[in-house]
């Protein structure tokens, strides 16, 4: 039940943070515009005045993509790669910064959203969260290493054979292992953020290891919690793809509805991200009860009260 409790509670917490949701949407949209506009410039410049524009840009025309690449691609490629790397770095740093503001808001249900509070949290948590992100890379690398070992092992056993079947199934297993491990690491890092945000601690490594230990101790809860969010994400993707298929080719109105559906999907994904943090905040005190106060500290508290 715990995973479901966490999942619903996370959704509930995310539901109450609409302004934060909007802020996240603006941030991602601005970054995406920064990437989309330069990317589309050569394409639409070429086709904006072409009679073939509508036809060539209908969905996915391989020959036209080759045309765009042959006209603009080769020359623009180095700049595009540089821009993509730069945008990625800015995006990651921005993501860490915003998470610093968002996690405390989601962790403290009673706290009302104010921009001041949000930005304060973002500033306070930036460095601990950034260190946490860097530490988490080790965990992700370990997951990739493990999946690589599965691949190597499969190739050593079946690579020289005349059947692809065992290798294909080993590939599925490898992908599944990678997905589950990445999901668990991501969940662990959500718990670590909540731990850092609530305790005001700056000990990122301790939070990272502690959360990984938490996953180790409660693998079932963590797996099903991740599975709930993965299923919700898949359901949102499925709903979007099905809806988009019906809206495609529906004229101007259809296109406006399609854009709305796209943005609703983006908001859903951000909402799920918030919900994952909210779920971690909900389950953290249950899975990791705080130790009872020591007698000396209790006595001091009582003394304070008397004074």
């Amino acid at each position: 039940m715990l995973p479901l409790i966490g999942f619903w509670s996370g959704l509930e917490r995310a539901r109450g943070r609409k302004r934060m949701l909007a802020l996240y949407w603006v941030f991602h949209t601005l970054c995406a515009l920064g990437a989309a506009l330069p990317l589309m410039a050569p394409a639409v410049r070429q086709l904006g005045r072409s009679r073939l524009g509508d036809e060539l840009m209908r969905q996915f025309d391989l020959a036209w993509l080759a045309e765009v690449y042959s006209v603009a691609g080769e020359a623009a490629a180095p700049a595009a790669v540089f821009a993509a790397v730069a945008a990625g770095v800015i995006l990651l740093l921005g993501g860490v910064f915003l998470a610093g503001g968002a996690v405390p808001m989601l962790a403290r249900e009673e706290a009302a959203y104010t921009p001041e509070e949000f930005w304060r949290g973002a500033g306070r948590n930036f460095w601990p969260f950034l260190r946490l992100a860097l530490y988490s890379l080790n965990a992700y690398a370990a997951a990739f290493l493990l999946s690589g070992l599965v691949r190597r092992g499969a190739e050593a056993v079946w690579g020289e054979g005349l059947e692809a079947r065992p290798l294909v199934w080993a590939g599925h297993a490898r992908l599944a292992i990678l997905a589950v491990l990445s999901g668990l690491i991501s969940t662990a890092m959500d718990f670590a953020k909540v731990r850092l945000a609530l305790s005001g601690s700056r000990q990122s490594l301790r939070a990272c290891l502690g959360s990984l230990r938490l996953v180790w101790r409660h693998p079932g809860v963590m797996f099903w919690l991740w599975a709930c969010f993965a299923a919700a994400g898949a359901a949102a993707a499925w709903a979007y793809v099905e809806l988009a298929a019906r809206l495609e080719g529906g004229g101007a109105v259809g296109f406006v509805l399609l854009v709305l559906a796209q943005q609703a999907y983006v908001l859903a994904r951000i909402g799920l991200r918030f919900a994952a943090w909210g779920a971690a905040a909900e389950l953290d005190p249950i899975l990791r009860p705080l130790p009872a106060p020591e007698p000396a500290a209790a006595a001091a508290e009582a003394l304070d009260y008397q004074i």
Partner: protein, 692 residues
């Protein structure tokens, strides 16, 4: 010898001799499946059908391409082909143990390796043998040879992997003696090229009888018809005898694990009377001349691909039908498709007479047509390579390119487009994502557009700029060029051209110029300009509408001659006249202009369609020779758009987007697409920030 002649004769009712045999082989070969070694003896009957006296013999020893890393093949390919890399311990070679003439003269000591293409002394894929007596015109020569072939670990077309064996280019094969004028040769001599990274086929027609002895557990498939199988229980071996007249090569495969299936292509059931009548009408021949014959289709399938068996048969049947109706009936009695196992992909997608290899994978999704494309394509080589036996070494476009064109037409017609594999846990999500299917025509044009025009189509296979230039030109760009030709000549004329070319050169060896000649003759048009630029030249075709515009022509102002007197119209008067005309409801005249440019060095006559805002449209012709041309129009309506080559006949044009220009910028289009890309960028960014 007598024995096998009797066998050939006995099988003649089954497989009639269709071409005059020039190089016929009687081969006895035994496979040592553990060592992957073939020990063979062969008797070659070669006829000098030229007016020349031939002093030497030249043979291909293709398998020596895999002998070491200094062979021409290895130097050109770098030890990898089509994504497969040579194994470190998988060398292959062929050794001619002895060579004797019928009278017992031993030629073995006279054998010497030669490298006619690149002078590579380390390459021994061609040998030359001086004869004690030259072969006189019209004379026949019988040569008996013993040879040993070590198959390489397969990565390029031929070899072994585990207990799978694909023996292609495995026996000493005589070159083609070309007399001056034969296939437009400038001088008489042997045409016997070394084994290169790309291309390998050119041989005379002949009758083959091949006796293969393999361990009995093996399932065998080969060129031709199986006429006898005997088993030696004591040795645990089986001997298969295959016979096939009128072919240019012989290949075979053996693997214990093959599942063997047979289906009949029943011509009467596969073709309707209407289809036959339409084909007969189109080509102006009798319906009996287009009627197809029954063919036994044999599939040797890997057990893990068993569920794909019917896909192979369906593709084979589609190919037999359409190639047959379009170019002429398939004249042989069998076609065998062998499906190489995982790990032997390098042997897949290959063509030999009446024997082809497939290209598929475990659980290949039904909407990804790779299996069908490969099977139809390799079958197509029965027509372009085997029946019309062009020289693939020197003119690969006549082989691979013609086949790409034909394959594309069949696959697009029978199957529509293909999905690409976007596999997630064994499921292809391409269709689920509603991504559109890709046609062969679109994929060929994408390849053509995406790669610079560096070499003529008609370039010798080893003289292309690089491997990509070879494959783009030999396959995709030729496909696009032939589709362009089809658009210029008309579909029906092109169909007549292709059939006429095929029929004229069936069981013969054409040159590129022979196709050009057929095009001109059948179409009744001189298409030399097309061939010189886009087949024998490397011209880039790119025309663009570079500018369009309109301006209003007001009433004129200035000094005018009127009835011998000078009359001055002031600017004020002119404006007044304009206003008066507007009051009367009269429309102003507009001068519109359209500028078109030739951006490439390819020249082609062009048609330009100009549309005006009142719905009126005009077409103008331009010979396309100058760098640019300007067309002006005076009409009340302004120009709305201009399109060069509105019928999009010139598929060779490397940029279609600039072929037209509208006066108004299409803001809706660019907004729509920017929003679409924005969405995908947002998603990509959410994945990234999801990590932190």
């Amino acid at each position: 010898m007598r024995h096998w002649l009797i066998l050939i004769s006995a099988s003649l009712p089954l497989c009639a001799q269709l071409a005059r045999p020039i190089a016929s082989y009687d081969i006895r070969a035994t496979l040592d499946a553990d060592k992957h070694v073939i020990s063979g003896e062969q008797t070659l009957d070669w006829v000098n059908d030229s007016p020349d006296t031939v002093p030497t013999l030249q043979f291909h020893l293709y398998m020596n391409a895999f002998r070491n890393s200094r062979s021409t093949f290895f130097r050109e390919s770098g030890g990898q082909l089509r994504g497969d890399r040579a194994a470190e311990d998988g060398w292959g070679w062929i050794q001619v143990e002895s060579m004797k003439l019928e009278d017992g003269t031993d030629l073995t000591a006279r054998i010497q390796c030669i490298a006619p293409d690149d002078g590579n002394r380390d390459d021994c894929t061609v040998i030359e043998v001086p004869l004690p007596e030259p072969v006189k015109p019209g004379a026949a020569l019988r040569v008996r040879m013993k040879f040993t072939t070590q198959l390489p670990k397969v990565f390029a077309r031929t070899g072994y992997s585990g207990d799978f064996h694909l023996a292609g280019q495995w026996f000493p094969k005589i070159g083609v003696w070309e007399t001056k004028g034969f296939r437009r040769a400038e001088k008489s001599g042997w045409n016997c090229h070394q084994f290169h990274a790309n291309s390998e086929f050119y041989a005379n027609f002949g009758d083959y009888r091949v006796e293969l002895t393999v361990p009995s557990r093996f399932v065998v498939g080969a060129t031709g018809e199986l006429v006898r199988r005997t088993e030696d229980a004591k040795r645990g071996t089986s001997t298969y005898v295959f016979v096939q007249p009128s072919v240019t090569d012989f290949a075979w495969t053996a693997q214990p694990g093959f599942l063997r299936f047979e289906r009949m292509f029943e011509a009467a059931k596969q073709t309707t009377q209407e289809e036959l009548a339409a084909a007969a009408r189109l080509h102006g021949i009798g319906i009996e001349d287009v009627r197809l014959s029954d063919v036994k289709m044999i599939a040797l399938i890997q057990p893990e691909h068993a569920e794909q068996t019917e896909r192979h048969f369906h593709a084979l049947a589609a190919a037999l039908k359409h190639f047959g109706l379009w170019y002429g009936r398939y004249p042989y009695r069998t076609i065998t498709v062998a499906d190489p196992p995982y790990g032997a992909g390098g042997a897949g997608g290959m063509e030999y007479p009446t024997f082809i290899t497939a290209g598929t994978s475990y659980k290949a999704p039904a909407d990804v047509l790779m299996l069908e494309i490969v099977t139809v394509h390799e079958f197509g080589h029965q027509f372009w390579m085997q029946l019309v036996a062009s020289n693939e070494f020197e003119e690969s476009w006549l082989d691979e390119g013609f086949n790409t064109y034909s394959t594309g037409k069949i696959v697009d017609r029978v199957y529509g487009g293909t999905s690409l594999p976007l596999m997630v846990f064994g499921r292809n999500v391409w269709s689920w994502l509603r991504l559109p299917k890709l046609t062969q025509a679109s994929m060929d044009r994408a390849a053509h557009v995406g790669y610079p025009v560096r070499d003529p189509l008609a370039t010798r296979a080893w003289e292309f700029y690089d491997g990509s230039s070879y494959s783009i030109n030999s396959y995709s760009r030729t496909g696009v060029a032939l589709r362009t030709l089809e658009a210029l000549l008309g579909e029906e004329t092109m169909a007549r051209v292709m059939r006429a070319y095929h029929q004229r050169w069936r069981f013969r060896h054409p040159h590129s110029r022979d196709f050009q000649q057929t095009v001109n003759e059948v179409s009744g048009r001189n298409m030399d300009w097309f061939f010189e630029q886009f087949v024998f030249g490397a011209r880039r075709l790119d025309y663009a509408v570079s500018e369009i515009g309109s301006r209003e022509l007001g009433e004129p102002a200035g000094v005018f001659e009127k009835e011998g007197k000078k009359e001055t119209v002031t600017a004020k008067d002119a404006r007044k006249r304009d206003r008066e005309r507007e009051k009367r409801g009269g429309k102003a005249q507009h001068e519109s202009w359209v500028k078109v440019e030739r951006l490439g060095d390819g020249v082609a006559p062009q048609e330009i369609e100009i549309r005006f805002r009142d719905g009126h449209a005009e077409r103008r012709a331009w010979d396309g020779a100058g760098r640019w041309a300007k067309f002006t129009f005076t009409r009340t309506a302004e120009v709305e758009s201009a399109t060069i080559d509105p019928g999009r006949r010139y598929l060779l044009d490397v940029i279609f987007a600039n072929n037209s220009r509208k006066a108004d910028y299409n803001t809706a289009l660019s907004t729509q697409w920017t929003l679409r890309v924005l969405f995908w960028a947002q998603n990509a960014m959410l994945w990234l920030t999801g990590l932190v």
